[in-house]
């Protein structure tokens, strides 16, 4: 097996045993980036010099057996919404072209302390707004399983990098499905932790009451390791939780025997591809065979989650994105006769169409005369969604459903119809609004395209979601499948 095809745990063992060095491993991943990067366009920026410096430092640690941690020497990709000090960060937007962050995100600092190696900044939908990566201000990403198809979004570059062997693991961010959906569409594992579990300090904000950073990996145990490294309270993010972080690996292999797993009937949505539904039903049967008891449950307000999200997220975005005015950083159009004209020109030229759509939608929903009908009503619906989950979790330990109603679709298939694009996230959005956690794990490959099973667990019960996902993965081979671009695991 090639080095870039392996898991974090495999490589950690090889590094500890001095079978390989981090520099060799990092070189192997960069060679793969050189070989297939033009096809996937997974990266916006490759940080070769930084990575080699970090790899050498990791090798020093490994040689001296000094503070060796699970991620020491492991090459990791970072979504371009995460600030890395002195490394250009654009959030996939032209309005941030040339922006060099003066500080690093907390998750970045934590990975640095682990001794991880940063490969570069991955492509994404502009300001993480999108489900196909076609809203990138620079170029779309292509799915390593079928290059004419999207990788999902908005963390499409992170997903494609892991699925193509251009990274061993990656960080993404998830506001309405942006980790889980691309993970499903590229055959990898992606987890959205509970809001507050991972610090958002240094994450370029989209919707501040929904955004969470999370791991994107080859398998569930790698996801548990990466989450372990980034989770926990951060004094610099007052919304981060002070709850202790459990040892995710300690309960990972406990299995599902005796667990109660719920299947929300509303999650088999209209328009779901039959292949997806079959894979999910098979996955549910398999977990039953593993000893879980399965029962149908109802989340009655699922049908209004999507409209509530498309008020709340754009409203928060319209406020968050007000800072991009060409004054303190990023792109400035120039030529305006006064400050207002200058703002308007800068934002007209700097933002892409989807970002403008959401800024206008959010501004409208918050404007005088419409606030109660849209924003306040959406916030009340959010309460109903929270209560739906709360009621369901009195009966069951976790919920099962598809991550995405479809497998990866062709580039361009939905770009003319914003509403059709929004429907991609119909089964991932409720977890963000309901403040629970969710993970997508590979559960099928149909016509050469991966399908993801979503496991949703209560808020701050990431260990439950990981345990169910691991039990499924341990009984199946889907996570071992490698995209044609990564190559067969020999």
């Amino acid at each position: 097996m090639k080095l870039y095809q392996r898991t974090i745990r495999d490589l950690h063992q090889m590094l500890v045993d001095r079978e390989i060095s981090s520099v060799e491993l990092t070189d192997a991943v960069f060679n793969q980036i050189d070989a297939v990067g033009d096809k996937t366009k997974a990266y916006l920026l490759v940080t070769r010099d930084l990575a080699l410096r970090q790899a050498k430092a990791a090798d020093e640690r490994l040689r001296a057996k000094r503070d060796v941690r699970p991620l020491t020497g492991i090459p990791i990709a970072l979504k371009d919404v995460l600030c890395v000090k002195d490394v250009a960060s654009t959030a996939g937007s032209k309005i941030l072209r040339g922006f060099i962050p003066p500080y690093s995100a907390t998750v970045v600092e934590r990975l640095e302390r682990e001794g991880a190696v940063f490969l570069g900044k991955t492509n994404c939908d502009e300001f993480a707004m999108g489900s196909s990566n076609e809203n990138s201000g620079y170029r779309p990403v292509h799915n390593p399983w079928a290059l004419d198809r999207v990788p999902g979004g908005s963390s499409g570059g992170s997903a494609a990098s892991v699925a193509s062997g251009e990274a061993i693991a990656a960080l993404g961010s998830d506001t309405g499905g942006s980790i889980r959906q691309p993970a499903a569409l590229t055959g990898i594992v992606g987890m959205k932790p509970t809001y507050g579990r991972v610090s958002r300090y240094g994450l370029i904000a989209f919707a501040s009451s929904l955004d969470q950073i999370g791991p994107m990996t080859r398998d569930v145990a790698d996801g548990a390791l990466l989450l372990q490294a980034i989770a926990g309270h951060d004094p610099r993010d007052s919304t981060s939780s002070s709850r202790p972080v459990p040892d995710y690996l300690a309960t990972l292999t406990d299995g599902v025997k005796g667990m109660r797993l719920g299947v929300p009937k509303e999650y088999f949505v209209a328009g779901m591809e039959p292949a997806v539904e079959h894979s999910i039903r098979d996955a549910i049967r398999l977990l039953e065979q593993q000893g879980a008891s399965i029962e149908e449950v109802s989340l009655p307000h699922s049908d209004v989650a999507l409209p509530a999200y498309y008020i709340i997220a754009p409203a928060e975005a319209s406020s968050n994105l007000a800072r991009y005015d060409g004054t303190r950083y990023g792109f400035q159009a120039g030529g305006g006769r006064n400050i207002i004209e200058e703002y308007m020109k800068t934002r007209q030229e700097g933002f892409g169409a989807e970002v403008k759509r959401r800024i206008m939608l959010g501004t409208y929903a918050l404007s005088s005369g419409y606030y109660d009908a849209y924003y306040l009503q959406a916030q009340k619906v959010r309460t109903l969604i929270i209560e739906d989950f709360r009621a369901a979790f009195t009966k069951v330990d976790a919920l099962l459903g598809a991550t995405s109603p479809t497998a990866a679709f062709e580039l361009g298939a939905k770009t003319q119809d914003p509403v059709a694009m929004y429907l991609n996230d119909i089964i991932t959005i409720p977890a963000n609004l309901g403040n629970v956690c969710g993970i997508s794990v590979p559960c099928g490959i149909v016509d050469g395209l991966p399908i993801g099973l979503q496991v949703i667990a209560p808020g701050f019960a990431e260990e439950i979601a990981l345990r169910v996902a691991y039990a499924f993965e341990a009984a199946t081979e889907f996570h071992r499948a490698r995209s044609p671009l990564m190559g067969a695991a020999a």
Binding site: P102, S209, G336, Q379, K380
Partner: protein, 100 residues
């Protein structure tokens, strides 16, 4: 042709773009108006939910009134904070005239 009153109008789109400090061409006004109308039609589904007795959720936080010691801590040096500025004058961000 007059626009139906129940629908988002071109004037409203222009107004919202102005509020959001977004420059927009006349063609874009029509384009975004039609797209936003379609999105708003789907969002109308919100009214299906009975929320008459439901409080609003603005954020999901358990933490309340997060406080810290009131003490001086290091912050970004001015030169670092200004390093990304497209236009600057000495230690200031430079902007266009605010008043004519």
């Amino acid at each position: 042709m007059p626009e139906p009153e129940s629908e988002l109008s071109s004037r409203q789109v222009e107004h919202v773009a102005r509020l959001a400090r977004l420059g927009i061409t006349p063609d874009e006004v029509l384009h975004y108006r039609d797209q936003l109308r379609n999105i708003l039609h789907h969002i109308e589904a919100l009214n299906r939910a009975d929320t008459s007795k439901v409080p609003a959720t603005a954020h999901p936080l358990e933490e309340r009134n997060v406080m810290r010691e009131d003490r001086r801590e290091p912050c970004l040096p001015a030169e670092t904070a200004l390093a990304n500025a497209p236009s600057r004058d000495d230690s200031y961000f430079k902007v266009k005239a605010i008043q004519e």
